[in-house]
Amino acid sequence: MAVTRNMDPKKCPMPSQDPNVRNKNFNEVALGYTYEMAINEAKRCLNCPKKPCRSACPVQIDIPAFISCVANEDLEGAYKVLSASSALPAVCGRVCPQETQCEGKCVRGIKGEPVGIGRLERFVADWHREHVTETPAAPAPNGHKVAVIGAGPSGLTAAGDLAKLGYKVTIFEALHLAGGVLVYGIPEFRLPKSIVQKEIDGLKAMGVDIECNMVIGKVLTIDELFEMGYEAVYVASGAGLPRFMGIPGESLKGVYSANEYLTRINLMKAYKDGSKTPIKHSRKVAVVGGGNVAMDAARSAKRLGAEEVYIVYRRGMEELPARKEEVEHAEEEGIIFKTLTNPVEVLGDENGEVCGMKCVEMELGEPDASGRRRPIVKEGSEFVLDVDTMIMSIGTSPNPLIRSTTPGLETNKHGCIVTNGDDGLTSREGVYAGGDAVTGAATVILAMGAGKHAAKAIDEYIKSKNA
């Protein structure tokens, strides 16, 4: 059916909670398109034959195909296209950095705004969840067992793809709950946990087993998993331990890693009245770092009632690694950006509580090895920021539990697992790895892409071995 194209140069704005209301609650910020908005937005897609958007998607969703289904009001058809490539469409529609992926390549973006691909993906996944009750049937088993370590985005994706091919997949999760960063890291207001749970329930319906409270490397080694009859193992154990700056005062009370702060709030529900997990209710908070995790921590602190919340970042606004939308949302909610600023010392009072943060101003010099302009300290620019809490969000270093208990598993100088190109094969036969355990802290969608590639490689490996 031919549709009348919508030539509006702007994408339909996302209905959202008012910034001054939402910065006091943990409900989802973006409310989602209405049916009419979605159909209209879908009609902006030119259905380009070359599909540049698709090639920019780490899991290669056939984007024009799903959008043309939406334009034709065939939402279940759109969902089928999405789910053929993505195990977690309701998640990706919310947390992917679309501006640097699909939407960054959209032809409509040349003379206006790109098609709201992420918003449409979210709309279709939400529509499916709310309207379709039948669960997908478990595929016919092929008699082969695969173990996945870690129930985060990468492990869930690999498990989903392998289950679709008939593999008996068991995911071993260290925490008491599956979801990884989707449940302990990304806050409720950006990704409601009920949505994550629903996606996980879908995997279980396909026959995937999830064993929680199993810390691989401690309770079982990878070699023991092979002895138990698993023919391949996919290691998706995540980014690991938080980094600190190594400046004086980082052990004062009131200094958190973003991982700890967010885990208390998200996984342990410290934001809810009556929660048994304590969290500091701060007055003035500095979050050090400029990524998505820093934005999540800052916006969470604001919601817990902090009067002033700063993002302290050593480069400029242009260099912030966070998604553009997260930065905009944070600004709207009253987060104060102290860019070109770097902490040099955390100050404590007589009780060992944080009472300030000594900072220096920075300026940008020549580009460094990463291609970004190197921040240089401005002489004599020292000042004290009045804060009672400091949250460090400057990245992670890999968890040692698996590499230290898996002989022959090669890791690089940073401790990340070394893999062979795109398929995730490690230095050990039958052991594949992907996501943050390989790349260091990155995005949900890149981890999912790695899970997809590894699932394909594992399938080929097991088939060739049994041929």
């Binding site: 260290a174 925490l175 008491h176 302990y184 929680c212 409270n213 199993m214 810390v215 401690k218 309770v219 079982l220 995540g238 690991g240 331990l241 938080p242 600190f244 190594g246 980082e250 052990s251 004062l252 009370k253 958190y256 890693s257 991982n259 700890e260 885990t263 208390r264 996984l267 342990m268 529900k269 929660s275 048994k276 997990t277 304590p278 500091k280 009780n351 060992g352 968890n399 040692p400 539990l401």
Partner: protein, 280 residues
């Protein structure tokens, strides 16, 4: 779910529980810990493993009621099940090559000191166990220490049992009597471990302490359990919980340990009020 096989009160505030957890039991070694959650909405709480029976598939924990979360666990009875029980976490205590060791335990820390005492004694080492409690009513595991050591010294703060005084006094006396220890292992309150280290440093005896900081995931993700050891940031969950006591910054650890004291106090009072209501 993890079933409680046995529950026994060792003193008015210390309880022993045997939990069915075959995977954990199979791998548990002295010095390692578990994390439990009593109910779906409970906190994650780390506890050092007191014993493990590989054949029966059970793990023993011994805990003191200090806040809302241990109180919640203490309301469970044998036959009931707790929600989560994950482990064994952390690095096991190194015992290889040790010929003569003093193990110093304080209070409920004795529960954690016992498994390593046993292991050392069974591997043929000469083991001096120095155990300290506030008073006679709080003494636990006396027979077990006696049976698993070459010499046991019982100390109480008030002299109501054994000798009057602190464990550090007993340790120093044994050292002065000419006992040459390969290593001292100290497990107990931070302040006790700090002062044991002060004594052993004087005599140049290597000392290992078991740290029990605030922790959430316990698997190397949150960074809440960080300590300063020899000027470096270390994580008790994956680098520890054992550390070289002469390098640990105890003063900092004590301050960090008190971070949520008000919250715990509040939880304990709320819990007590709830119990009082139930009693009425």
């Amino acid at each position: 779910m993890y079933k409680i096989i046995e529950k026994e009160r060792l003193n008015p505030t210390v309880t022993k529980m045997v939990i069915e957890a075959p995977f954990v039991a199979k791998k548990a070694e002295p010095g390692q810990f578990i994390i439990y959650r009593t109910h779906e909405d409970s906190e994650r709480v780390p506890l050092t493993i007191a014993d493990a029976d590989r054949e029966a598939g059970t793990v023993t924990i011994i805990y003191q009621i200090v806040g809302g979360s241990t109180m919640e666990l203490d309301q469970m009875e044998a036959g009931q099940s707790i929600c989560d029980f994950v482990g064994p976490l952390g690095v096991a205590t190194h015992t290889e090559g040790l010929k003569k060791v003093a193990v110093v335990g304080g209070g409920v820390g004795c529960a954690i000191a016992l498994p390593v005492t046993k292991k050392l004694f069974r591997q043929g080492a000469e083991v001096h166990a120095i155990v300290g409690f506030r008073n006679k009513d709080l003494v636990i595991l006396e027979d077990e220490f006696k049976a698993n050591s070459t010499k046991m010294v019982m100390m109480t703060d008030d002299g109501s049992y054994g000798e009057k005084g602190l464990v550090t006094a007993a340790l120093e006396r044994l050292i002065q009597e000419g006992n040459q220890y390969d290593e001292v292992i100290a497990i107990g309150p931070l302040v006790m471990m700090k002062f044991v280290c002060a004594v052993t440093k004087k005599y140049g005896i290597k000392t290992v302490v078991s740290m029990n900081p605030i922790m959430i995931d316990g698997t190397g993700m949150c960074g809440g359990c960080r300590l300063t050891v020899g000027g470096e940031t270390k994580f008790a969950c994956v680098d520890g919980p054992d550390f070289d006591g002469h390098l640990v910054d105890f003063d900092e650890a004590m301050k960090r340990g008190a971070m949520y004291r008000d919250f715990e106090q509040h939880a304990r009072e709320a819990g007590c009020n709830l119990l009082n209501k139930e009693v009425k």
